[in-house]
Every structure is written in structure tokens, then in C-alpha cells.
Symmetry: C2
């Protein structure tokens, strides 16, 4: 396989260029060397970037692939004119047709949060992250009222990373509520959850996978034993069914897939769309 270097170049963090570029590259069976070039916000830095890109092309014997989300036209022009790589201009490609469609000019604003500290959206996202951290594993039940989403499920079914993702990506206040053996003995939804049924979402998991995950945490414990995992999962699933709680098996799903499914089912009020 020929050697290729891929660059992600942006006047901001480059995270959009990188996320999107990697999604495109995942469509190809190639192993590329990746280089992140964030904060290229002066013509000088653009010249430095050019040197680095063109040098990589000479070393590889193949022109580099360059994903860019540059919005400053002067900087983009330096790259377009002097870069020996294959340029994939992710903003320009779509912004120009949209200018025509909308009949307005784009504002060439760098980054999602131009001044992060003053953005209400940004502050509510930080608040959501702090909320979700404070409400991990059923801490502070009295605040369930304020939650946008409450995840229920047995220990290690995926509640914690999912709630943090919901907070970080969507600014949602997500709480966790673990179902524990005492709940199964009572055979009833924990009373604290009953008033919040519309916000509940259940996470379940294959007992075999759960046992594997718990083994890493507490090897050879009753907690991790396959028999016990089978019992807990089966009791938890029965409880969710009886209470009419929507649920999803996380066994083969990524955090992103779980979070997207939850949003489709729960439609939190606070979410912009």
C-alpha cells in the first residue's frame, strides 16, 4: 500500500475537519498517517502548514490529502495556491451553494463558540456536564426532577458514559439510577423513579458481555459471576417490561448509537430540536 499522509487544517480547533475527514476515510481500507493542524489563523501559519504538507508529499512519493474547514479567505487562498496536496475544502464546497440558496452571505465566523464564556448554549453545556457527574449512580435523588433523562439499568450496563455523552454533545442533564438486587427483591420500580416515568430509559446488556466487563473490575467476585449477571439482567429486563420503560441492549452499540436512540425515544423538552 502506497504511503499517504492526511492533514486536517482549520483556523479553529479542526475537530469538525477531523471528525468528518475520519468518517470519509473510514470508507476506505487505507492506513494513513494523520496530522492535525489546528489554529492556522494567520498567513504566516498557513505558509508553515504548506511547508509541512509539501514536505510530507515529497517524503511519501504521493500527494497528501488535505481536509480543510478554513473560513478565512486569505488563509485559504495561500493553501489553495501553494499546497501540492489534494485539497478537500469542506466548507467552501457547501457554503457557496448555500449562499445562493439562502440569498445571504456567510459570515466567515471561526468556531462554534466565538466567545465561549459568554455563550448561553456553552454555559448550559458545562452545567449539564457538572449535573451528570453529580448525579452518577443515583446520587442526590431529590434532583431527579431537574433531569432531562434518567438512565436505569444494572451496574456496568453503560449508563455512565452514555449520560456524559448526552451532557457533552447535547447539553442534556442526564442522571443515572442503578438497579440493584434490593430492587429485584421488592419486584418494583424504585419509588424515587415512579414520578419520572416519561424521562426513564433502560439500558440492558447480554449477561455474557456484562460478566466480562465486571470481571475486569472485580475478578472472581459474585458480582461478576455469569450466573449472577444472568439473574440481574433478567430481573432488570422484567422490571422494565412491567413498568413500561423503553429500553435498548447496549451489547454491540457505541455510545453514539445509544445516545441517538435515547433522543429519538425520549424527546427531552429542553433539547433545541
Amino acid at each position: 500500500m502506497a504511503k499517504r499522509t492526511v492533514f486536517f487544517i482549520s483556523d479553529g480547533t479542526g475537530i469538525t475537519a477531523e471528525t468528518f475527514g475520519n468518517a470519509i476515510l473510514a470508507q476506505f481500507e487505507i492506513k494513513a498517517h494523520r496530522v492535525r493542524l489546528p489554529f492556522v489563523d494567520t498567513v504566516d501559519k498557513a505558509h508553515q502548514a504548506i511547508r509541512q504538507i509539501n514536505h510530507a508529499g515529497e517524503m511519501d512519493g504521493n500527494r497528501p490529502i488535505v481536509f480543510t474547514t478554513l473560513v478565512n479567505m486569505d488563509i485559504l487562498k495561500v493553501i489553495t495556491d501553494q499546497c501540492s496536496g489534494m485539497l478537500l475544502d469542506m466548507f467552501g464546497t457547501f457554503v457557496h451553494p448555500l449562499e445562493n440558496e439562502l440569498g445571504i452571505k456567510s459570515n466567515h465566523r471561526v468556531g462554534r463558540f466565538s466567545d465561549a464564556s459568554k455563550s448561553a448554549e456553552y454555559n448550559s453545556r458545562i452545567e449539564a456536564i457538572n449535573f451528570s457527574l453529580a448525579h452518577d449512580d443515583g446520587q442526590m435523588n431529590r434532583d431527579l426532577e431537574q433531569s432531562d433523562v434518567i438512565l436505569v439499568g444494572v451496574s456496568r450496563s453503560g449508563k455512565t458514559p452514555t449520560s456524559l455523552y448526552l451532557a457533552m454533545q447535547y447539553g442534556l442533564k442526564a442522571s443515572n439510577y442503578p438497579l440493584i438486587p434490593e430492587d429485584f427483591d421488592r419486584r418494583q420500580l424504585p419509588p424515587a423513579l415512579v414520578p419520572h416515568k416519561s424521562k426513564l430509559f433502560g439500558l440492558t446488556i447480554q449477561p455474557e458481555r456484562l460478566s466480562e466487563i465486571r470481571q475486569e473490575r472485580r475478578p472472581n467476585s459474585r458480582y461478576a459471576a455469569l450466573e449472577n449477571c444472568r439473574m440481574e439482567v433478567s430481573e432488570a429486563e422484567a422490571m422494565m417490561r412491567r413498568a413500561g420503560i423503553r429500553s435498548l441492549s447496549t451489547t454491540t452499540k457505541s455510545i453514539e448509537e445509544i445516545a441517538t436512540t435515547i433522543l429519538q425515544e425520549i424527546h427531552p423538552d429542553r433539547l433545541a430540536y
Copy 2:
């Protein structure tokens, strides 16, 4: 302003379509109604999507804007043929030129993690999230050794959301280590940190902003008082300078900007690139 509906349509979660589409839309001063259509993975669901898109166009009196990252060609064809919206095909636009450039066909794989549970990359990301949660606020010092990055700074300087973001986005094991008044009295870097200087990154913040943030947490406390915040920040900055720790002011920065800057400075060994 004319009414516009924007759709994000994908055979996967649609998170790439949404992240990228919103970055493009941020270039325009418009208020659009946004609709997420994830998991459109059958021709049937494509027809449902078409009905929804075309209906929105009739209601608005303006054709909708449709960002798609569909990789299944049969489903994409239904949308292309029958959708009355303006279609922005984010994958097709770049995948076809790349097929020519690389001389190979794309694999039309949906999503970043085709089977999340089996992906080593995915598992190490979950492990990193759990690690960063367990090592928030200086818990378990003995594991600092295993950290990829250790963030230091006064309480509420932005360490926690930044470390979670580094774990979630880059799979890095990020620990936090708060600098507290006792450290300032000693006028020395906490001894636990000394062996790990190459992994340390300092976060600082304007005392006025810090006082505001702390007021929300503990109103009218000494902890939140502007005088105390001034003292802590000044002592923490002096300590970082003396110890030669790279640092950044988080006052007007987003989590993404802070995380990207840290990666540029620290170059963690474990990071793929």
C-alpha cells in the same frame, strides 16, 4: 426571515451529518428548524423520510436543506430522486474524488464502529472515560503513572470537563489534580506530581470569572470571594511558572479549544496521531 427546515439524514447516528451541518450553518445568520433523521437504513425508512422532508417544504414555502451522510447507494438514490429539498451529499461529494485519487473503491461502511463491542479503539475509549472519572480531583494518586495527561489548576478552572472531553474524543486517560491553599503555603509543586512533569498541563482562569463560577456553587463563601480567587490564581500561576508547567487561560475558551491546545503541547504517547 423566511422559514427553513434543515434535515440531517444518515444510515447511522447522523452525528457526523449534524456536527458538520451545524458548523456550516453557523456561517449564516439564520434561525432554522432542525430535524435529525438517524438510522435511515432501509428503502422504507427512506420513503418515510422523503414524506417528512417534502411536507416540511410545503409548510415552510421554502425547500428544506438536507445534509446527508448516507453510504447505502440504494437508499441515497431514493432520497436523490424524490426529495424536493436542497440535497448536500457530504459523503458522495468527497468519496468519489477520493476513489479516483486512491485508485480503490469505498466500502460503504455505516458508522465509525461497525461492531462497537469488538473494536479495540472503542474499548480503550470507554476505559479512558472510566479512568478519567475515577481520577477526577486527585483521587487515587498512585495511578498518576498511568495517566496520559494530568491537568492541574485551582478548583473550578475547567479541569473536569476538559479531562472528560479528552477521554471521550481522543481516548486519553486524563487525570485532574487540584491545587489547593495548602500547596500554596508550601510554595512547591505537590510531591506526587514531580515525577510526571512531562504530562502536566496547567489551566488558569481570570479571578473575576472564577469568582462568578464559584458563587453559583457556594454563594457568599470565602471560597468564592474575589479576593480569595485573586490570591489562589496568582499563587497557582506563580507555581506553574516556577515549575515550568505549560498552561492556558480557560476564561474565554471552549472545552474543544482547551483540549486541542493541550494535545499540541503534550503529544501523549498513546495518541494515534
